[in-house]
Symmetry: C2
Subunit: 272 residues, 2 copies
Amino acid sequence: MTRLINTQPDETNNLTDEIVRTSVRRFKDDELQDYEDFVAREYPLTIILNDQELVTLLCTPSKLKQLAVGFLYSEGLLQSGDEIRNLTVDEPRGIARVSTDTGQVDSETMHKRFITSGCGRGASFYNATDITGEKVTSDLRVKTGDILSLVRDFQHHSEIYRATGGVHSAALCDNENILLFTEDIGRHNALDKIFGECMLDDISVDDKIIVSSGRISSEMLLKVARRKVPVIVSKSAPTDLGIKLANDLGITLIGYVRGKRMNVYTENWRVV
Amino acid sequence: MTRLINTQPDETNNLTDEIVRTSVRRFKDDELQDYEDFVAREYPLTIILNDQELVTLLCTPSKLKQLAVGFLYSEGLLQSGDEIRNLTVDEPRGIARVSTDTGQVDSETMHKRFITSGCGRGASFYNATDITGEKVTSDLRVKTGDILSLVRDFQHHSEIYRATGGVHSAALCDNENILLFTEDIGRHNALDKIFGECMLDDISVDDKIIVSSGRISSEMLLKVARRKVPVIVSKSAPTDLGIKLANDLGITLIGYVRGKRMNVYTENWRVV
C-alpha cells in the first residue's frame, strides 16, 4: 500500500494555507488515475480568554483574530471591542489569546452548552429558548433587484472556494455592495469572522445586510440578532426555528435566493 | 405587517413532524405571491445522563433514542448498549434521559470541549489531536461499481428531504444494500442516529460501509473510527484533517462520488 497523502505542513503546504495539496486515486469511467488534488484545510484554533482555555474551534486558517473576537461576542463573553486589552494569535501552535477587563468565565456558563445542528461550529453558551432579545427596529428597506444582484456577486466571490471543497462564505453588504467577505469550513465561523472584523475595525452592522451560503438555523439567527442586523439572506433554506426567531426578533429572513427568485419568510415590509 | 409564519405546533403541525408548514412571500420573475411552503424542523433535544444535564442538541425529531445513545457513544460517555439501564424520551418537552452503570461525567470532561466546524452538531468532548485510536484492520473489499450504485440509491432515499430544505442523510450499508438510513438537519446527528440504532439493535458495523451526504471532516472520521467502520463514502469533499485521520486510522475514505466517478483518498487497497 502506498502512503498516498501528504497533508502535513511542508515546503509545499504552509501551515496557514486555506487549501492544501493531497494525492488521490480517481476512478472515472472505469479508469484509474493517481493525481494531485486540493482539499480545504481544517485548522484547530484554541481560544484562551483571560488565561482560561475556553474552546477549540475547527476552522479555515484565515482572519483568526477576527474569528476569536467574533466567537467571544457571539457567545456573550465580550460586549464590545473596547473591552479587549490584548489579542494575539500564535499561528503555528493554533492558539488565540484574548485578555479583557471582564475576567474569567464562571464554570456554570461553561457548563450550559447548546450544541447545535449547524453546518458550522455549533456549540454555544446560550440557550436559544432563553432568548429575550430586543426586537430589531431598523427601518432599512431593500429592493428585490439589489438582493438578487448581491447574491450573484456573493456567488462569484465564493467560486474558488466552492471549487476546492465546498466551504462556506458570509458577507456584510450595504444595499448595493459587498463590504466584507469571509470563508470558512463552518458557516458559523464565517459569520463570526465578519462580526469580529466589524468589532475590531469599528464598522457598524445594524444598518447592513448579511449574506450567508448556509442554511439559516436558530443559531445563525441569534448571531445576527445580537448584532441588530435587520436583514439576513441565504441561497439555502431556513429551519422552522430560524423563521420563528426571525419573526420574534424583527429580522427580515430571505432564503432560497436563486436566479430571479427569492422567498421572504419574515418582516417582508423591508423588501420593496 | 401580517404575521406570516405559523411554525408553532398546532393542529396542522405535530411537534415531532420532521418538516413543517410555513407561510412565505415569494418573488419570482418580478411577481409577488403569498403561499405555503415547507421547511425542516429544528428540534431541541436535551440529553440528561444519570440526572446530569449534559447538552442540548438541535436536531430533526426522529429516532431520538438512537440519537441520544449514538451521541453518548461518540463522546466516549458510553461504551456499549449493555451499560444502559434506562432510556426514555419525553417528546413534548424535548428531553432524553439515559441511566447507565457508569455514573456521572466529571466536570473536567465536560470542560474539555472540542467545538467543530462541521455541518452538524459540532461540539465534542474529545480532542482530535489526542487520538491514539487503534487502526481499523478489516479486510473488507468494495467494488467501484457497488459504491456508485450505493450512492445512487442513497441519493434516491434522500430526495424528499433535500427537496424540503437540504437536510443531511447517513446510511449503513453492506456491499450491495442500504441497511439503515437516517436524516437530520446536522450531518453529525444523522451519523449518531445510525450508530445509536446499531447499538440498541445489536447490529455490527465493523464489516460495513457508511455513506454520508456531508463533508468528511475530522469529527465525522473520528465517529466512524470509534466504531471501527472500514469504509466511509461521501458525495462531498473531505478536509485535510479528515484525510490525515483516515490515513492514520486505516480507514478507506472515498469522496466526490458523482455519476461514474469517485476519489479514493486513503487505503485504496480496499477498492477493487
